[in-house]
Amino acid sequence: MKTLFDYASRECADGLFPECDVPSAAPSSVLGAEFVRSRAPRIPNLSEGDVARHYTALSKLNYGVDDGIYPLGSCTMKYNPKLNEDAARISGFASLHPRVDVSLAQGALGLLYELGKILKSVSGLPSVSLQPVAGAHGELLGMFLFKRYFEARGESGRKRILLPDSAHGTNPASAAIAGFSVTEIRSNERGTVDLDALRKELDSTVAGIMLTVPNTLGIFEENILEVTRLVHEAGGLCYFDGANLNSFIGRARPGDMGADVFHFNLHKTLSTPHGGGGPGAGAVAVSAPLVDFLPVPRVVKAGDEYRLDWDCPRSIGSIHGFYGNFLVAVRAYAYVLQLGEEGLRAVSENAVLNANYLMERLKTTYRLPYDRLCKHEFVLSGEGLPNHVSTLDVAKRLIDYGVHPPTVYFPLIVHEALMIEPTETEGREALDRFAEILETIAREAAEHPELLHDAPRNAPVRRLDQTQAARNPVLTYPFRAEG
């Protein structure tokens, strides 16, 4: 594939910007020679058509939710309604500078306030911050809140975060940035937190626990109330990673389960797109003891007017330059207004029904390490496939059939994991077709393993050499030496 830098520069870049209507300023005289750029960046000058065609060609090498099922476990790749996109592009939102006086941004502040109210209601928690711009950013905020809470209580000796061994990698990384150490808690044979292992670790050095609910196996912690009670009794706090909210939205609330911090992934549960890896939004809701510590500024309502409140002396400060990813919040708000309460409930109902339906069908073909009711996702194992066929081979073969593979090799506690999350926006026929493909692939593994080992063949590129990419990194375009 050609890159931008493989195109020859043309002499046709004029026309985007007007002629200068004020006296021109010579850089060397107004800035001084010291400041004037000595060498132009190597960016070709191209016609608009060149550029349009280049990026259209690139887009065709991608696979998005609009192309078909995208069953990436833990990622909730649901359909992204088009209204969301239109809403975020309304000029009154898109062209609003974050420093305008609040009186000139009442619509935007009102939207943030109202969305915050909805998220409080959905989570059953008393306060929310929309400042985090990604799930991991929400986790980081959560860990900052933990830290400030214990500082305020004079319990800075609480330095340990407990983490189930099924946790997302962002959890331990977020805890570490906030200066906590991580202690892993093993899962029991049912795939949930081992209560005895938890009890053994709970002491006055524990700041709290980070739980993914339901966990990354797609299993709901049946003992969730016991887990949070034990942690609270030991003086700790409970963080809930909300990546999997899609499985219980509209019927259960983290606040009722003992959560002190809960992060939403608006780009998962509330249908704002993933954008090829962002931008997302990771709103955080908190329990009463943590409210004072939330970031500034906060959107508040005084009478009929929305304001930004900076006067929060116990706040941790800010974690984003402004108010979080506002245009992502617009999309989420558009979605949640359309759904309403009934719709929220229908989301979790269909997400869980779809996952269980697919799991039930596939468990006769692939190994299912935890054979029990799942929530919105489930984890199969490619272990035991014949002819040295691996989970990676299955994933790449799925590409040949024109569908996106599930999450693979995660969670780490399942060997050769295939983590499947169909979401509620797939219908029964789509699930049946996906299952048929996986069944066909299992037969191929026995009869024509080379089809899997050599996959993909029906993709823009064949399997890529990751080892070379790691050993001999080429991370920028290798321009030819200037002569």
């Binding site: 960046p41 500078h97 420093r99 009442q106 990813n325 245009l327 359309q338 070379q468 990419a469 920028t476």
Partner: protein, 440 residues
């Protein structure tokens, strides 16, 4: 619900296949006490038409979006070529996930590789990641990285860094146990190099700084010993201004909003993050790399992943996962659209128009620029009258201007900051000058 394709009949058949009678049985693993406590959000479902109308009304209540902007301070009213929006609206890009399956993500990965190259070209650096959340968090990550490398637990920060960057930095540094030492600015509003403390892991400067002044980076690196030079900058300015990399900067970050992103009330934004090749293993965030496929054909994949949270967990260089990929694509298409010549041209327009307004202000009786330092498209003025009065008159005339309170917090009282981009016409600037000069 039109986003949910299963019909009642489908659901019944699926439940039957599971041997269940009622859909609620699917939730029997959630404690009954939790289910019983659930309270409705009370939200009534609305049609697409109603929601669109409601959002249009909310947007119309943002009067600030249609005013003539002289606002800056890190976010600027630049022009975005039409093509950028059209590429971003392609669902192959915006509905894709992080490219964990490279064979069907070559579009995203190739664009990431182009973006990294463009960032290096712009900032004059060797290595860039695939984006951070925004300029402020990119700076905070840069400070964490500098301290991972030099491990002194102390970082010097110029006092004229934009306040929103400083707020985020303060929070991250507190959590990481890094002490921040202020470096004051001099009479020109620029960092006072004579006051750099010793025994720090790095020095953070921003150019243009919070007053719009260009920091003179020549020779700074030599004053730092082995402390890292961390620079935050403004990409559009670099169409004309020598990039920080030319002065030996070790880490350069920037807010990429100016490269084809809407102001969007401050988000989503785009953090640019670049460093020297030697520091690859300390780099936070994703990186795309070039490799070959099984047939030897060139392709792209995520590279150097052993630094990242999904592999290294608590020992990762950062917890960042989702970043600003689509915003990075916008910046890539923006730069491809304007080219090197267009970038220089747009920078020249900013320079000329800002200096036109500044020259006009200087001619107003009793008015002056507060700092005598070269500037790109933003500067600070003090008038014969209180700043608040002038700002109120500008507001009446349809302009939006920064609140002087922010400058005051930096120790520069009774002053207004003006930013002028290529979007401002001479007649708008003349009108602003007339208001400032007391003429109607």
């Amino acid at each position: 619900m039109r986003y949910l394709p299963n019909a009642d009949g489908d659901r019944r058949q699926m439940l039957e296949a599971l041997g269940l009678r009622d859909v609620e049985e699917l939730f029997s693993d959630i404690p009954a006490a939790v289910l019983a406590k659930y309270e409705s959000t009370g939200l009534a479902a609305k049609s697409e038409l109603e929601v669109r109308d409601a959002l249009e009304r909310a947007a119309a209540a943002n009067e600030g979006s249609s005013r003539v902007s002289l606002l800056g301070g890190g976010i600027y009213d630049h022009y975005t070529p039409s093509l950028v929006g059209h590429v971003l609206a392609r669902s192959e890009f915006y509905t894709a996930y992080t490219p964990y399956q490279p064979e069907i993500s070559q579009g995203t990965l190739t664009a990431m590789f182009e973006f990294q190259t463009l960032v290096c070209e712009l900032l004059g650096m060797e290595l860039a990641n695939a984006s951070m959340y925004d300029g402020a968090t990119a700076l905070a990550e840069a400070v964490l990285m500098a301290d991972r490398i030099r491990k002194r637990g102390r970082v010097a920060v110029a006092a004229n860094v934009l306040p929103q960057y400083r707020r985020v930095l303060d929070t991250y540094a507190w959590a990481a146990g890094i002490e921040i030492v202020d470096v004051p600015f001099d009479a020109t509003g620029r960092c006072d190099w004579a006051k750099i403390p010793e025994d720090v892991s790095g020095l953070v400067v921003q150019t243009p700084n919070a007053f719009g002044g260009l920091e003179s980076l020549a020779g700074v690196k030599a004053k730092l010993g082995d402390a890292l030079l961390v620079v935050a900058t403004y990409p559009i300015a670099l169409g004309l201004v020598e990039p920080p990399g030319s002065f030996g900067a070790d880490i350069v970050v920037a807010e990429g909003q100016c490269l084809g992103l809407p102001m969007g009330f401050g988000g989503p934004l785009l953090g640019l993050f670049a460093t020297k090749s030697d520091y690859l293993r300390q780099l936070p965030g994703r990186v795309a790399g070039r490799t070959v496929d099984a047939d030897g054909k060139t392709g792209y994949t995520m590279a150097a992943q052993t630094r990242e949270q999904h592999i290294r967990r608590e020992r990762a260089t950062s917890n960042i996962c989702t970043n600003s990929a689509l915003c990075a694509l916008a910046a890539t298409v923006y730069l491809a659209s304007v080219g090197a010549d267009g970038l220089r041209r747009v920078a020249q327009l900013n320079l000329a128009k800002a200096h036109y307004l500044a020259d006009g202000v200087r001619r107003i009786r009793g008015a002056k620029l507060v700092f005598d330092a070269p500037f790109f498209n933003e500067f600070v003025v003090r008038l014969a009258e209180p700043a608040g009065n002038a700002r109120a008159r500008l507001a009446e005339a349809g302009f939006v201007v920064d609140d002087p309170a922010e400058l005051e917090a930096l120790g520069v009282g009774n002053a207004l900051r003006f930013a002028v981009t290529e979007r401002r016409s001479r007649s708008e600037l003349d009108r602003a000058l007339a208001v400032l000069g007391g003429k109607r």
